[in-house]
Amino acid sequence: MWLLAELTYKCPLQCPYCSNPLDFAGTGKELSTEEWIDVFRQGREMGAVQLGFSGGEPLVRQDLAQLIKAARELGYYTNLITSGVGLSEHKVASFKEAGLDHIQVSFQASDESVNSMLSGSEKAFQQKLKMAREVKAQGYPMVLNFVTHRHNIDQIDRIIELCVELEADFVELATCQYYGWGFENREWLMPSIEQLTYAEERTNAWRQKLAVEGSKLKLIFVTPDYYEERPKPCMNGWGEVFLTVTPDGTALPCHSARMLPLEFPKVSEKSLKEIWYEDNGFNHFRGFEWMKEPCRSCDEKEKDFGGCRCQAFMLTGDAAATDPVCSKSPQHHKILDARRTDAQLKQQNEPDFIYRNDKNSRVFFKQ
């Protein structure tokens, strides 16, 4: 089991593709240090090994070193998923001492101007470079995560060069997914098929070059499912591997699931065990009984579980529908339309992003 602890929704950046919920400004009080540690203990008792500290920006939590220490003592492999903004040489060292195993730093682009445009912060890029170097200097394995989209995907060579320079161990070249703020900004983010094809070709060329040079750097290229004909096996099945706990202690089968018209329990109300095994929200899309046609009789249902419930809900209004990414879905035209209108027609327009910040979130919270 994989436990993702979204420690806070606070974040100094405003990335328009953020997957946090739109109405995060209306979320309840954050869990205390003791409440988080209790969640970690319960998760470990249920066999969870991997623990991700995420957010928002987890560095905003002043008790992060304390949480890392407790998690490590429980036997977790601890992953910090951060923008690097708010990190310092001292913090990198204190987290190491607390037992942190791995740091993933996310980048918005390989050069300062695109990075600043997207994250809404001028200083962020230089800070990220500095911190990525610090992470390596202090002996951590490092994953660099580049969220790619229309405005930076053509710089793929420069992005990979930068990762080699920074001595990353793994690089995720993840074409952004359209959830949360990303969905609202889809028309300004989606790359064209030509851009994608080029980026994938360049990534493959780099893989060959790195292999010849004996480099251990692993490049992971994530194609956006909007360009697929079959849906992704979302979360490796609903309630199978992943458990996310949001800042206010709501337990979810995936970090986007709060948008669904289902009730999800709080860790303050029920034990993690009760939540995982008995809760209606968690049981709702387990197995195959909930499926409708064309999924129900499909011979691929055990491979992709009908795709993503959140995507089905966002695009069709029915969380139990076939994910429209699937070409068998009667609503597949919504994906084809998005490819045509968002990725092609709006390619030349200046982006008019809705940035992920408190002010914009309050608008969604009121709705």
């Binding site: 066999g47 991700g52 791995h102």
Partner: protein
């Protein structure tokens, strides 16, 4: 190649963590956002990889612990070559 292996001193790549997982009833190798579950022989070998003992010494230890096993050298060396390719250990 195999005779060259004897004197080498394998060490676990510090980017991986080896630990016993009661839930899986096995040793696992942990790395960023992932895990490899080790089978019995793999865990017997990797738990002896400590950056101090040579490949020959590890083979000796195993041979003593499993006296009924046939000559283990070839299998252990093949596994370590594979583990090195996977970046789990340095040689």
């Amino acid at each position: 190649m195999i005779s060259e292996m004897n004197h080498k001193i394998p060490a676990l790549n510090p980017h991986f963590r080896l630990q016993w997982e009661a839930a899986q009833e096995s040793h696992v190798l942990l790395y960023p956002e992932g895990m490899v579950q080790l089978n019995g022989p793999a865990s017997e070998i990797l738990t002896r990889v400590d950056g101090v003992h040579s490949v020959a010494q590890i083979v000796d230890q195993l041979q003593q612990n499993f006296p009924e096993a046939e000559d283990l050298a070839e299998d252990v060396e093949a596994f370590l070559v594979d583990a090195h390719e996977q970046n789990w250990i340095t040689l």
